[in-house]
Symmetry: C2
Subunit: 159 residues, 2 copies
């Protein structure tokens, strides 16, 4: 029953899209004025995976064009949240480092989300989310792997 199967995929991605939208709105309500989700996402990325990364690597991690990341980084730099320095081992690339202000802002944003999480905990058992987390991680890993792997180009070419 491929129709039923595809309907499930479609529905899962649809729900995920809506949840992303709603959770992003929650996050941005807790960020200082002028700072939006992508800015926070970069700070979070640099904390989680370590800073001193090249702009192009960050762009690839977020699946956005490098021009977009140039703009995002410049905004973070203007606000003193990251420092951009040339890569001593590659004259083309620039490395992005977190400032203490950047680390502090990321920590404060997460702390400010506590009331939202408390509200969520009151109406939604955390166990259920813990149960689906491994599946989400695997799905993300698969899609992440897939976009570099052998795509089906047939329909793309027919486009």
């Amino acid at each position: 029953m491929p129709d039923t199967k595809n309907a499930i995929y479609f529905e899962v991605f649809n729900e995920i899209g809506i949840i992303e939208q709603l959770s992003r709105t929650l996050l941005e309500a807790r960020l200082p004025h002028g700072l939006i989700a992508p800015h926070f996402a970069v700070l979070n990325h640099l904390i989680r995976l370590g800073d001193g990364r090249a702009l192009i690597d960050i762009a690839r991690a977020f699946q956005v064009p490098k021009t977009t990341m140039t703009h995002t980084i410049k905004c973070l730099e203007t606000n003193g949240l990251v420092a951009v320095r040339p890569n001593p081992r590659d004259g083309r690339s620039k490395l992005v480092w977190l400032t203490s202000a950047g680390r502090a802002l990321r920590a404060k944003a997460i702390a400010d989300l506590y009331p939202d999480f408390e509200r969520l905990a009151a109406g939604f058992k955390v166990d259920r989310l813990q149960d689906i987390l491994p599946v989400l991680k695997d799905l993300r890993a698969f899609l992440d792997e897939d976009r570099n792997g052998p795509h089906d180009k047939t329909v793309l070419q027919a486009e």
Copy 2:
């Protein structure tokens, strides 16, 4: 252990954000040139919940400003995918109807996604997604409810 609990929420939303990004890229690769995910999302919304809806209701459903929806609808209208008519029961609002071209394009986009779903099915058991679907639906429903319900305004006002 509130820290552990919040970490799970945070991680779930983070994974969902990445999956949304990756799945959106997959979708847009299958859409005709110039049409992007939000356009498709509106067509899909009108199919699922029925057309003849007011612009403001669609905007609220997607949690976007009405100015954004005005722009999106105008783009769909320009491409002949929806028809906008005045609401006979309210001189202020306009109702959005699907055209046959709009229905056809939505159907074709879903059909064109089949190769992607097949690839996904090969590497990822559909059962696992089916299992998490109810949780995702409930989470979406909770967040949807929550944004209209009694928020914790304390931090918002302190902002």
